[in-house]
């Protein structure tokens, strides 16, 4: 008879468990996204912040979060977004609750020093190439320490397309005999 009681208990527990769990919401915000293995973290120079802009929380800590998609009026009006602006806006990358962080699509927070994880969400191939040292400027030593830059060091995250540059002078045409 004892085993009958155990089985009934198990049945009830398995039926009750989802209901029990469903009554509890996600307890705390997800931790910041860290590369699972230490060697995947890439050492880079400090992010290229505009002077005086960081830490963002110096203003935003006291401001109310407005998640409505809109053109910005009071501040940051100088930032023109030409980066999938049809579908994205500021808070798709900048964490609404803490502006000193960026966030991934899953909600995981990402520090600016690892913004490559954010870019890599859409530009996964570029992220793979960049980790291998094949995308982006190459500095350092070919058989030693290799210098990496953040995506943002070359690409303006709001207007990532490179501007055209003035080319250096063309070579001289072969001259007449002296």
């Amino acid at each position: 008879m004892r085993w009958l009681y155990v089985m009934a208990l198990a049945l009830v527990a398995s039926a009750a468990a989802p209901v029990a769990l469903a009554q509890h919401p996600s307890p705390a915000p997800l931790p910041r996204a860290d590369p699972p293995r230490a060697e995947e973290r890439v050492e880079v120079p400090p992010p290229p912040f505009t002077d005086g802009i960081f830490p963002c929380t110096s203003c935003h800590a006291s401001l109310k979060v407005n998640r409505v998609r809109r053109p910005l009026a009071d501040m940051h009006g100088d930032i023109v977004l030409t980066h999938d602006e049809q579908h994205r806006w500021c808070l798709d990358c900048h964490d609404p609750d803490n502006r000193d962080w960026l966030h991934l699509a899953s909600g995981e927070k990402v520090p600016f020093e690892q913004s490559y994880l954010l870019c890599g969400q859409c530009h996964g191939e570029k992220l793979r190439d960049w980790r291998a040292g094949v995308h982006g400027r190459r500095t350092g030593e070919w058989n030693g320490h290799k210098g990496y830059l953040l995506c943002a060091h070359c690409h303006n995250p709001h207007q990532p397309r490179f501007r055209a540059v003035t080319p250096k002078p063309a070579p001289a045409r072969p001259s007449a005999a002296k």
């Binding site: 040292g133 400027r137 070919w142 490179f162 001259s175």
Partner: protein, 292 residues
């Protein structure tokens, strides 16, 4: 026909002249200028010291001439991302500065060819003299060309004096003191990568790169051939070539082909890679690829 008399015995005068010629030949070969590869270590050290003194006097600043040997287990290779190059020519001028190329007459080891996207890589349609206000121009792409450091180099094959050869680390080098300036190597090169010093090279003193290598960027004399050496003075010390470092869009990749974890191996194994004029079987170690 007259019956032949026995040839007359060698006279003392004849013997003396032959002996003198032999002695001169011996002295010239023993003490005179020699090819780099035949020099003993002491003579090489003396030669480098002489060169340093010479350059220092000429340019009024201390110049170092090294002869850093190749690193074991290294074969250098290069890859250039054609989807990234914007034709800005910063590599050309970084190379000129790093490698002490003559400003007048102008010598440039890198030549950037402006190509038409509609025509593809077609040398008969290339234009190295493009000078628009801004690059990249609409409908154009850019192919920088320098020495391809071929594995089956036609230039080293044809040199009559053996003044150019491939080093163990894969760099094709020139002994500027042995080259006679016949320019056969220039006719043999399918990439227009070799350049001649038609006049005495001029390097402005304040732009002189004083860290030089005997086979690389030391100031060259008039009348000899020169070309890209993958910045031998840098790469044998672990650094990247100047063009790789200066490229603002990161189009240039470089590394050790024998290191499975190098960028260059990653490019060759993962990207669509091509070489120029492949049908000529020169087997360049300079690869072009499309990163996007």
């Amino acid at each position: 026909m007259d019956p032949e008399k026995r040839p007359p015995p060698v006279s003392r005068r004849q013997f003396a002249s032959v002996a003198a010629a032999a002695a001169a030949g011996f002295i010239l070969t023993a003490c005179g200028p020699k090819r780099l590869r035949e020099l003993s270590r002491e003579r090489l050290a003396a030669l480098l010291e002489d060169l340093e003194k010479d350059y220092t006097k000429r340019f009024g600043t201390a110049v170092v001439v090294a002869d850093t040997p190749p690193i074991e287990g290294v074969t250098f290779a290069y890859a250039l991302d054609l989807s990234r190059c914007i034709g800005c020519r910063r590599c050309v001028y970084a190379c000129v500065e790093e490698n002490n190329q003559s400003r007048d007459p102008e010598v440039q080891w890198i030549r950037v060819l402006g190509m038409n996207k509609e025509k593809g890589i077609d040398f008969s349609e290339s234009d190295p003299y493009y000078q628009p206000a801004e690059v990249p121009e609409e409908g154009h792409f850019y192919v920088p060309v320098a020495c391809q450091q071929c594995r089956n180099a036609p230039c080293t094959k044809v040199c009559p004096t053996g003044a150019t050869w491939t080093e163990p680390d894969g760099i094709v080098v020139i002994d500027y003191d042995w080259c006679v300036g016949c320019r056969y190597c220039m006719a043999a090169c399918p990439y227009g990568a070799r350049h001649f010093n038609w006049a005495e090279p001029t390097i402005p003193r304040d732009h002189l790169n004083t860290k030089t290598h005997y086979l690389g960027n030391r100031p060259r004399p008039k009348g000899v051939v020169e070309k890209c050496t993958f910045c031998i003075q840098r790469v044998r010390a672990g650094r990247y070539p100047a063009c790789v470092e200066v490229c603002p869009v990161g189009a240039r990749k470089f590394g050790n082909l024998l290191d499975p974890k190098s960028e260059i191996r990653y490019v060759i194994e993962n990207k669509r890679v091509l070489v120029l004029k492949e049908e000529l079987n020169t087997m360049p170690k300079f690869f072009y690829f499309y990163g996007t």
